[in-house]
């Protein structure tokens, strides 16, 4: 294999447990977002648009959807003769094998993969975040600073610093201290989980970390603090723009709603930086004469006969006559019958809502979430703040569309 200056390792094995029922059968990077994307599309598109053509995708938790979604990477223009996308699950070696124990261990277990390309630099990114970023500019910065490690950082509101890994830097942006979720932060520059390492250096730290039995084998908790301690040349790369970790159901809902404003910070309409995704092969959407649509994102294959306000419809959604959808995120192929009312909800893929049912209540600001492939029978009322999944659907008088043997 010919040499690459830089390859990317994309961490996509996380469960995203705070996304609850949405990630029951889905790794977090595969969660649908933004009307037609899955979360991982943003990072893969960033790689593609930044000219990085070799990406190792580290998978572990519920990889089936993700694996078939990524395929050979052609949808992101990453199907290459030399390089391209390689999905990297944990595997067995001559002395046995084990799961990825942490983010650093996941990369450690793939040292052989990286060595095949003999790269100068390795970009480590997470498939959990939503942002558009040109990694090539960060690479220029890394070289200019002659750094060993560069960590992308973004300014966060001071009152939220306790949620992030905070970088304390000097005037030259050199990192002097790293604090994970500090109570009294000294700075408001949060790590975005985007790192550029000189490979040779990272390689030796990964091996060292692997032999440390007290380590939790995590970049943020172990590798970065160790490198700081050893006074490696570490710089913060200040990024300006939209960046979001949609860790919870509420933040997922909110980030989707952000896109409905007139000029959202995350611009999906820039032809020079397209966000790629797998196309569902559907016709253009049909909006009926009696439909009312305002402040909405709607996709291919949708048919709308009812009212859609301040909401997002993923591809293939059907909205029957007299139905009203407000402040909601409706994921692919959800079918909504007649006279259904939906208020502030996330409804996952392929769920069926029969005529006259109601999801959420008019004057309630609580978020209601319905898992994939559920069936809400005619006339059933689901109160705000409910979360309906395979575990509890019967308590709500609902049914599942899964075949029996798929139930757990």
């Amino acid at each position: 294999m010919s040499r690459k200056e830089c390859i990317a390792m994309l961490l996509a094995g996380g469960q995203g447990s705070r996304l609850g029922i949405l990630t029951k059968k889905l790794a977090k990077p595969a969660v649908p977002f933004g009307g037609k994307y899955r979360i991982i599309d943003f990072t893969l598109s960033n790689c593609s648009n930044s000219g990085i053509d070799t990406v190792g995708v580290l998978t572990q938790y519920q990889p089936l959807v993700l694996n078939s979604y990524i395929g050979i990477g052609s949808h992101w223009n990453l199907d290459r003769k030399n390089g391209g996308v390689t999905v990297l699950p944990p595997y067995v070696r001559d002395k046995g094998g084990e799961w990825y124990k942490g983010t650093a261990n996941a990369v450690y277990q793939n040292i052989d993969f990286i060595d095949q390309y003999n790269p100068e630099y390795v970009l480590v990114v997470s498939g959990d975040h939503i942002y558009k970023m040109d990694y090539s500019l960060m690479m220029d910065y890394h070289k200019e600073k002659n750094a060993d490690v560069t960590i992308a950082v973004i300014e966060v509101p001071w009152e939220e610093t306790f949620r992030f890994g905070i970088m304390n830097t000097n005037e030259e942006c050199a990192i002097e201290e790293f604090e994970e979720k500090p109570v009294n932060a000294k700075n408001n520059l949060a790590s975005m989980g985007v790192y550029i390492f000189n490979w040779e250096k990272l390689r030796s730290y990964l091996i060292e970390d692997e032999n440390d039995f007290e380590s939790s084998h995590d970049f943020g908790k172990n590798i970065i603090p160790k490198m700081l301690h050893d006074q490696q040349k570490m710089f913060a790369y200040p990024f300006k723009g939209y960046w979001k970790d949609v860790g919870t159901l509420d933040s997922l809902w909110e980030a989707n709603m952000d896109l409905l404003s007139d000029n959202p910070e995350l611009n999906l309409y820039d032809n020079k930086w397209k966000v790629y995704s797998v196309n569902p092969t559907q016709p253009p959407q049909y909006i009926a004469p009696e439909a009312v649509i305002s402040k909405a994102l709607v996709n291919e294959g949708c048919q709308v006969f009812g009212e859609v306000k301040n909401s997002m419809l993923f591809p293939g959604v059907y909205v029957g006559e007299g139905s009203v959808i407000e402040d909601s995120v409706i994921m692919p192929n959800v079918k909504i019958g007649k006279n259904v009312y939906i208020k502030k909800a996330i409804i996952a893929e392929e769920t069926l809502l029969e005529d006259c049912c109601q999801i959420g209540q008019k004057d309630n600001t609580g978020l209601t979430v319905i898992a994939e492939k559920m069936k809400i029978p005619q006339g059933v009322l689901i109160k705000s703040n409910s979360v309906i999944s395979l575990e509890n659907y019967q308590e709500f008088g609902c049914e599942t569309r899964l075949a029996n043997n798929e139930e757990e």
């Binding site: 309409y269 397209k274 016709p283 253009p284 909006i287 709607v298 996709n299 291919e300 048919q303 859609v308």
Partner: protein, 369 residues
């Protein structure tokens, strides 16, 4: 269907489509919000299991090539077979008109393909059909050539079609191309199934006698020699051969029954993917009875219209009964009614354009008004 290859004949053109075919061949005419005409027949072939498709081209095939490229979206990037664009050659036969010369110029491709059967199709009929049925029927009936046809309700426009006379056994006894006085209602859908050997015989027969047209010379002059059978199709069909039929077909898609039949019934319609973001409806937009493709941003009002990918409708703009192709922009307060707007057109603020339903205005590609 492993034993069937497809040929799409994009060498015919329609003068009456005017501006729309000025820069592109008929198969490359944009339609239905995100498609080009070739998508329908090409998807029919691929969805039926055909894995080897040749496209005969004439002039202006740049747009077509740009659209199908390697055939990736139709799953036709194959090590063996796949998609073949068959470009025109210098007219070494001295033939005026007719399509036989195009077949003759690519005899090599036809001969060397491993399949024994061939499905030949025209370039401007829109329908969604599983072709396996017609191929099975063809083999069963021991016909030499099977022609797909539809019984039309309105026989006043028979001159647009090739009319067939079919006897009770289903055998075609006579054919007439663009006849004005034919009283029948069976119209050819320009889709033919035959053994490849028969196609090669027909091509050879025509070339050696100085004939130039597959249907007029190959089929009609041999109607007693070969057994031609009809296969009836009953679904939605539109032939795009004039501004009026183009306009009507696109407006037909606002009928949900037709929308469902054409885009889902026998298989999905594949097309070039543009990775456009979702369509965005701003707070004060009003959209009624419209087909809207991804990438559109709508602030104004849209009624009974088709918007292709990436169309921008600014505040206060009013669009009625229009077809607006890719990346066109309708600025603030403009009013357009009964207009077909080609790609990348800009209608500047406050302009008014009004055609007639029976005679819509056509605005050419990249015009600024």
């Amino acid at each position: 269907m492993k034993d069937v290859m497809g040929i799409i004949n994009d060498t015919t053109s329609e003068e009456s489509l005017k501006g729309i075919t000025y820069n592109r061949s008929l198969a490359a005419v944009p339609t239905g919000g995100r498609y080009r005409l070739i998508d329908f027949i090409l998807s029919n072939m691929v969805n039926s299991g055909i894995r080897n498709v040749g496209v005969l081209t004439q002039n202006n095939y740049g747009s077509l090539m740009d659209h199908v490229r390697t055939g990736y979206e139709w799953d036709l990037v194959r090590k063996k077979d796949g998609l073949y664009i068959l470009p025109p050659k210098y007219n070494n036969l001295g033939m005026q008109g007719g399509d036989i010369q195009y077949y003759y110029n690519h005899l090599d491709y036809i001969q060397s393909s491993s399949q024994n059967y061939v499905v030949i199709s025209g370039n401007n009929l829109v329908f969604n059909l599983d072709l396996r049925k017609i191929v099975e029927k063809h083999k069963e009936s021991k016909a030499d050539i099977t022609i797909l046809y539809k019984e039309m309700e309105n026989i006043s426009d028979n001159h647009r079609y090739t009319m067939l006379d079919i006897n009770q056994e289903g055998r075609i006894t006579d054919m007439a191309v663009n006849t004005k006085r034919h009283k029948g209602n069976k119209t050819s859908m320009e889709l033919y199934v035959m053994e490849k050997e028969i196609l090669l015989d027909l091509i050879d027969g025509c070339i050696s006698r100085g004939y130039c047209d597959l249907v007029k010379d190959g089929f009609i002059k041999n109607i007693d020699k070969y057994k031609l059978y009809g296969y009836r199709y009953d679904g939605y069909l539109e032939k795009i051969d004039s501004i009026q039929s183009y306009y009507k077909h696109n407006m037909d898609l606002l009928n949900t029954n037709i929308w469902n039949e054409l885009f889902f019934q026998s298989g999905l319609v594949h097309t070039k993917v543009k990775d456009e973001p979702p369509a965005k409806y701003m707070e004060h937009s009003t959209v009624k009875n419209a087909m809207v493709a991804n990438g559109c941003v709508i602030e104004g009002s849209v009624e009974n219209s088709i918007l292709f990918r990436g169309v921008k409708v600014h505040k206060g703009a009013v669009i009625k009964n229009c077809i607006i192709m890719q990346k066109s922009e309708i600025k603030e307060g403009a009013f357009i009614e009964n207009v077909i707007i080609d790609k990348e057109v800009c209608i500047t603020a406050g302009k008014r354009l009004k055609g007639e339903i029976s005679y819509p205005i056509v605005i050419e590609k990249k015009a600024i008004i």
